[in-house]
């Protein structure tokens, strides 16, 4: 390049404007985001409930299989709550301990866990007309009443004629109300339960016509959340047993009292070391790496909060891998640029060629890892899934910051021409450059 062109200062002004804007953004709300992160049982503890398992039917026996089935049913319900990585454990012969982190409404969670979710439709004399076995599995959903627009729960009956039969029978009774029960017990009665505040009868509509339909609308006195939860537990399936709460308690971090504080300190030290190394080794490009890595960490926090996920130790492991891959993307690009500089290319064309060639490397490495993480997410449970979701998030964020971010910021400097003929700033010695 023989033509001597002037330095384009405006690009450097743009660079500093972008950096200042990012710094401002991070400085103003990074602490809010960090404080909002929900921590898992292992790092911060949560609350726990110990249940005793009682049989529902007389000929039922509490054995390992029944306990395992109950644990699966409980796990399905915890999914409804949206809690990640709970700890459900069988203790002794007939006890189940459930530990949950990041639950704000403990009362609602306990109700959701211990409801047996046995739905039944009865007349006012408590004779069963329809029960869970007449309903389509997984057919419950929350919707809104077409006239009143209030939240309702819809369940699906297998046979429209059957429901027609039932409604006709009830319609012809002197008291033509149909009671919809949740967890009816032998000793319960309609008249008593209707008087109660916290009734097991969700609703008792008056039947005035024959309804030959498969969809039954339950219009209880629900909030949207309550309706969603009810639909959720109905779909998660009934508990095969009755759970009696022995006690509930708050529980400390399973990794020790100071686990989180220590991990945070260690994290800061680790990141400081990485920054120092990048600056020392890659000089000017190291500064870009430090900026993009800071932005990366900030965005991972933001996205993680936005997904409402719970951070656990496996999540931290994935985050470390993510930081590693973000640094790696920087290193791959910078090594490429250095290679090109050594081969005698000008700063501008070395930057162009280096960025282009490193992209396919980073892309293939990231896609392969995301693919593996995707499989772990799909097939894995609790801790494996927590690991996978964090890994996918951090790879995607790192790709955006370390590839596009670094390219944009470094490009502003390179294209301003201020760095022309200054290979030392890139950590390349004059002596290493071969003539073209």
């Amino acid at each position: 390049m023989n033509k001597k062109r002037g330095v384009k200062k405006w690009r450097i002004v743009v660079f500093f404007a972008i950096v200042a804007a990012l710094a401002g953004l991070i400085a103003t709300n990074v602490m809010d985001h960090a404080d909002d992160i929900k921590l898992g049982l292992d790092l911060q503890g949560g609350f726990e409930v110990l249940y005793e398992v009682n049989t529902i039917e007389e000929n039922q026996e509490i054995d390992r299989e029944l306990l395992t089935d109950t644990v699966s049913a409980i796990n399905a319900r915890i999914d409804v709550l949206g809690v990640s990585e709970p700890n459900v454990r069988i203790e002794g012969d007939d006890r189940i301990r459930v530990q949950l982190a990041g639950v704000t409404d403990q009362q609602a969670a306990r109700e959701l866990l211990s409801t047996e979710a046995r739905l039944s439709f009865r007349d006012v004399n408590d004779n069963v007309m329809l029960d869970g076995s007449d309903l389509v599995e997984g057919g419950a959903r929350q919707s809104f009443h077409q006239d009143t627009n209030r939240p309702i729960v819809t369940v699906t009956v297998r046979d429209a004629n059957l429901f027609g039969e039932v409604t006709r029978e009830i319609m012809n009774m002197p008291d033509n109300r149909m009671a919809i029960w949740l967890d009816y017990d032998e000793e319960d009665s309609f008249d008593e339960e209707m008087m109660k505040e916290d009734s097991k009868i969700i609703s008792a509509p008056t039947v005035s016509e024959v309804l030959r339909t498969t969809d039954i609308m339950i219009t209880g006195d629900f909030t949207i959340e309550e309706a969603q939860d009810l639909a959720g537990i109905l779909n998660a399936g009934a508990l095969p047993v009755e759970l009696e709460e022995i006690y509930s308690n708050s529980v400390g971090a399973s990794l020790g009292e100071r686990a989180m504080d220590l991990a945070i300190t260690a994290g800061f030290i680790g990141i400081a070391l990485i920054f120092a190394y990048m600056l020392l080794y890659y000089r000017f490009m190291g500064i870009i790496a430090v900026i993009t890595l800071s932005v990366y960490i900030y965005f991972v926090l933001v996205v993680f909060n936005w997904m409402n996920a719970v951070l656990t130790l496996p999540g931290i492991a994935a985050l470390i891998l993510g930081v590693g891959m973000a640094v790696d993307a920087n290193i791959i690009t910078y090594e490429r640029i250095k290679d090109e500089l050594r081969s005698g290319k000008s700063t501008m064309s070395a930057f162009k060629a280096g960025s282009r060639r490193s992209l396919s490397t980073i892309l293939d490495a990231n896609i392969t890892t995301i693919l593996a993480a995707g499989v772990l997410f799909y097939f894995g449970n609790s801790a494996v899934q927590g690991f996978a979701i964090m890994l996918i998030t951090s790879i995607l964020v790192s790709f955006i910051t370390a590839v596009f971010g670094a390219r944009l910021l470094l490009g502003l400097w390179v294209n301003s021409r201020i760095l022309n003929k200054k290979p030392k700033l890139f950590g390349v010695k004059e002596s290493e450059i071969s003539e073209l």
Binding site: R89, G252, G256, G380, A383, F387
Partner: protein
Amino acid sequence: MNFDHQETKLDFVKHRKKFFLFSATLLTLGIILLSTIGLNLGIDFSSGTTIDVLADETVTEQEVIDEFVSIGLTPDDVILAGDNNDVGRASFIGVLGQQDVLEAQRHFEDVYGNTPTVSSVTPIVGEELARNALISVLIATVGIIIYVSIRFEFWYGVAAIIALFHDALFILAFFSIIQMEINIPFIAAVLTIIGYSINDTIVTFDRIRENMKLEKRVKDFEDVARVVNKSLVQTLARSINTVLTVVFAAGALLIFGGEGIRTFSLALVVGLVAGTYSSLFIAAQLWLVFKSRQLKRAKFKSKQLQESEV
């Protein structure tokens, strides 16, 4: 650090049989150890007993441990519970004898005035998780082979997966040797190592793929060996820098992260180094062996073809 592949005397290919032998010996030893002594399974993977000690005031983990030690019992884990941290939950691996349980109950009645509750625990959850992680990883390897076969070639995929299992097995063998107790976080560390291993291997393979395209003719073992060595030398600075930075992060957790995550962070540090070792000394060399066999077979076939045409 600048490694010029034309001037350097570094040869990753020549000594490949030594690397293979080294890894094979280590892994065989590991398998033998795993199947004899096995891993030191922690409370998450073993049946055990928990004793809940209700104190009248706030206690610390150390106080609870000390009380147990004074009656000759060493809890494998203690966590605190209760709104004021007034419950200490000590877990013991293995079922405690009746004598020990009675002793503990009597002791804590004297100290805190409350009878501790004793219950037995089964490791169903931990076992489920380990099995689930294993199955998910196996399915993931199939996915990796398919993707790498499309973007690269089938044999790159096979070599990458062997390197992946090498690293996973290495870390299991390492923990079988040092007999450090492993719990659920260990699974997360193994998953991280697998993720790093695959990422690292693909980056070196990418350079081999690129250099293979640049070569005008690749006919025999020597040609492929030259390309592999050149690629490894070219990516060496990157490999070292990347592993150094992740070891900074994992090492900081190991040194400053506290006792609770010691096993986890140690597994990370060792596994990350093993991951780099396998990318530099095992994966590419394996691919070289596969590729040169393929070339030989192709040559043999074309020879046969020529002969039959004659």
